[in-house]
Point group: C2
Chain length 185, copies 2
Amino acid sequence: MQERNAERTKARILAAAIDEFAARGIAGGRVDRIAEVAGCNKAMLYAYFGNKDGLFDAAFSASVAEYLDEVGFDADDLPAYAGRVFDYFEAHPDRLRLSTWYRLERPHGQPLEAIVAVNASRLGELQRGMRRRVVPRVFTPVSLLSLIQAIATSWSSMNPEYGADEPNATMRRRAVVVAVQKILS
Amino acid sequence: MQERNAERTKARILAAAIDEFAARGIAGGRVDRIAEVAGCNKAMLYAYFGNKDGLFDAAFSASVAEYLDEVGFDADDLPAYAGRVFDYFEAHPDRLRLSTWYRLERPHGQPLEAIVAVNASRLGELQRGMRRRVVPRVFTPVSLLSLIQAIATSWSSMNPEYGADEPNATMRRRAVVVAVQKILS
């Protein structure tokens, strides 16, 4: 029972940390606010996660795990995968912000285990797909992964005023993402 | 003479501001440090640029103007343009960081005049290119611009350990950027 309570508290802290770091970044995020939103005291938070950096690592790794659960990966159908990546970040723009802060604020940090493992697994699937000839060999696996991610999230790098008000803008953007991936496949 | 001195001081402040904001972002950037590096007092800096936000606006607008000067835009040869965008951000990764902070820290801010003007001009050239049939009409101008930018800077979104040590990694990445743009053209 006590253990289950501990797990619940940790989950509440991580959810609050994802919100706080997505909004304000690592340097700008406040542990006080995370503890308050999670309804726990700071001593407990530090006991679980060490310090603010440790809390960010745990929150970002948890966010990546949720992303993988929802989006999956499918080397056999990269256009459909690109569409799901697009959908995910349209529904959860805070998760894209979180990984952008990570890139900006940890440019030379030790890579997180969870991220390295995820990328290695996707690159392995692309390599096997190339051997089975379901994935085109025009690009290397790293190039291909990098292109898919950049194209699927390309809208996020445009100023919001571009066509944000047009009807069906999201559907049309999604169609572009899937179409480009088909052209490249 | 006094006017020329004022222009030189402003230019030194803007250069120092670009470095500081690229490294630490808007919230994290310190006006004290910018004044110190530029070798002027804070009162003078505030007299020229108002406040930290005004200084960021001026620094980011100056950075965009330099980028345009160096990279240009050419609707008649989008693969070559994409290659130049890639070259620019390989040579000046701090400028990509600057615009990424802008996106993260000003998600709902008033768009900067300089950025709006630049984008309107490029979209206009793409539209004219489509009418002259030198630009493919598969995508809308906004989609095309967003794809070119995302693809040309796609490597920046990957963890640095991916092939950073491989020989000729930069040349090969550049070749991918240009090749994708040719496939889409």
